[in-house]
């Protein structure tokens, strides 16, 4: 309950006037059974990597009992009735409309509204907004890359289209996988929760069934019940999962029978790999690694030739130019692998590193996780393919991983060689990736020549 935060003197002054706290009554606690079953499948004890959802860092002192309680309550919400107040206030009617389950597609923009730290300094923190996209979905279990903080549990997540429709509630603002912050927020879709609420109210309070009628109905102006896996931006369909023995990662289809991935996903030339496509339908096709850069090459790239064409998968348009600051999206099978289809995370192109005027490295603010390697980086506006995700960032001194700082190989580095191979079968252009100049190697080693190392004055 205690945050250990101390409000400074200025925050004691009211930043904005609030309504005085109003007493309320708990009508019922409710959960969505489908959310709980998807949660158990994706995050349960059988999951290979250990997940944590506590609102604190994995190393913080949280008792096992406390963590167990948090986990048990994670998919539970509460319906309250607020005591009557001023007459003017009471005249106001329904506040929200509710988006039907499946109406918001993967990659669609979302707005999260919650109060970080709960009731701590509401004059400062009440209704803080955060923007992101719908990153992934398994039934009513949704994930967004909108950044949320402890205390925003229960906060509403709204759609831009239909405008202002309530899509979901925050179930867990922070997710940790294998002791690394994932940078995604776990949500429970609002529509099925309200369905449970209507049913429960009718059963528990038959005399006051009118309450259930007053709950906001799903917005019928939007399509409902559409399978989420088949929706989303068309360019996202080019992302595939690549399995090479026990290793798996992401890849991108650059021609009907050609997939690009990372060397550390498919490291050996001539190795057989299995390529899974999730959209437009689930298919798995065998392929062979026809090229992988040498370990000494800074470009962590492998090319897979498929035994069959991936029908219906659109081939992305390679970008010719990069614009720092432009909105971008990463699509990859990080976090869940095959269990949940690819995730979409959004951000901006934060840096384009050039050597002799040519881009050799792209950086983004998208959340990138283990398993996303080899996946595509797209321009969110044009849908053009900008690059291939190679890594995120880890501080070797602290062990901390930073999912929002990641590195991609610009498609301009690869495109001429891929075109040559695609048209003639000649690997010559790809082999040149093994012979990059020293400045490019220096960039990808994240090192400068010793003489240029800046000295810390601390």
């Amino acid at each position: 309950a205690s945050l250990g935060l101390e409000p400074g003197a200025p925050s004691r002054a009211r930043a904005r006037p609030l309504q005085p706290p109003r007493p309320a009554q708990l009508l019922l606690l409710l959960s969505c059974p489908a959310f709980r079953s998807h949660f158990a499948r994706l995050f349960g004890a059988d999951a290979v990597d250990q997940w944590h959802f506590v609102s604190s860092a994995p190393d913080d002192a949280v008792s096992e009992e406390e963590e167990e309680d948090q986990l048990r309550a994670l998919g539970w919400f509460a319906l309250l009735r607020v005591q009557r107040g001023a007459a003017a206030e009471e005249r106001r009617g329904p506040v929200v409309t509710v988006a039907p389950l499946g109406a918001v597609v993967k990659g669609a923009p979302l707005l999260a509204c919650g109060s970080p730290f709960g009731a701590f300094c509401p004059d400062i923190f009440l209704n803080t907004l955060s923007r992101g996209v719908l990153s992934n979905a398994a039934g009513p279990l949704l994930l967004t890359d909108a950044r949320c903080l402890p205390g925003t549990e229960g906060g509403g997540v709204f759609a831009a289209r239909p405008a202002g429709a309530l899509v979901a509630l925050v179930a867990a603002p922070l997710c940790w996988k294998a002791r690394e912050w994932v940078g995604l927020t776990l949500l429970c879709a609002a529509a099925p929760l309200l369905q449970v609420a209507r049913w429960a109210l009718a059963r528990l309070h038959p005399g006051s069934a009118s309450l259930s009628v007053l709950l906001p109905p799903p917005d019928v102006s939007t399509p409902r019940g559409l399978p989420l896996r088949d929706l989303g931006p068309p360019w996202a369909a080019a992302a595939v999962l690549v399995e090479c023995g026990t290793v798996w990662g992401s890849g991108v289809v650059v021609a009907p029978r050609l997939v690009v991935t990372c060397r550390h996903v498919a490291p050996r030339e001539a190795a057989r790999v299995l390529v899974h496509s999730a959209t437009p339908k689930n298919v798995a096709i065998w392929g062979q690694v026809v090229f992988a850069t040498q370990e000494t090459s800074p470009y962590d790239i492998a090319v897979v030739s498929l035994e069959e064409e991936l029908n219906g998968v659109p081939t992305p348009v390679p970008a010719g130019h990069f614009h720092e600051g432009e909105p971008v999206s990463v699509v990859g099978f990080g976090v869940f692998g095959q269990a949940c289809g690819p995730s979409v995370t959004s951000g901006i192109l934060s840096a384009v590193v050039r050597v002799d005027g040519s881009p050799v490295m792209l950086q983004t603010t998208c959340a990138v996780h283990g398993g996303s390697s080899g996946g595509p980086l797209f321009s969110s506006g044009s849908g053009d393919l900008l690059g291939i995700v190679a890594s995120n960032t880890r501080d070797n001194n602290t062990g901390a991983t930073y999912p929002h700082l990641n590195f991609s190989i610009p498609i301009t580095v690869l495109q001429p060689a891929l075109k040559q191979y695609s048209q003639t079968g000649d690997l010559g252009g790809l082999r040149e990736l093994d012979h990059t100049t020293e400045p490019v190697r220096v960039v990808w080693r994240l090192q400068r020549p010793l003489s240029e190392v800046p000295r810390s004055k601390l």
Partner: protein, 110 residues
């Protein structure tokens, strides 16, 4: 934020609230709080996270893991549960108008 977010922001800020739970007569026992969504103002219906109710469950958090349980009635929590809901100024409320007249900005030190 872009123009596309205007209507969504207005709805979100009208609907957002914060919910606090505490024990009657035991202010030192602490309080629990989370965010919530105002579904309706007449009657006042609010949806919030269930985690803040765990300490008040008569049978403990195990009640939340019973197979097939989709809901628990309000009396699953102890009688000393006290709840409060707080929200921001609404366009029609006097507080909202006061907000426009009083520049209540502050700059907490980092």
């Amino acid at each position: 934020m872009g123009r596309q977010w205007g209507p969504s922001m207005r709805v979100a800020e009208q609907a957002g609230c914060v919910v606090s739970a505490s024990r009657a007569g035991q202010p030192d026992a602490g309080s629990w709080s989370c965010s919530g969504v105002i579904l309706s103002r007449n009657p006042g219906l609010v949806l919030c996270h269930g985690g803040i109710f765990t300490p008040f469950l008569r049978t403990g958090s195990a009640a939340l893991t019973q197979t097939g349980t989709a809901f628990l009635p309000g009396d699953s929590c102890s009688d000393d549960l006290r709840l409060h809901v707080q929200w921001g100024p609404t366009a029609a409320s006097p507080a909202g108008r006061a907000d426009q007249e009083l520049p209540g900005l502050c700059t907490p030190q980092c």
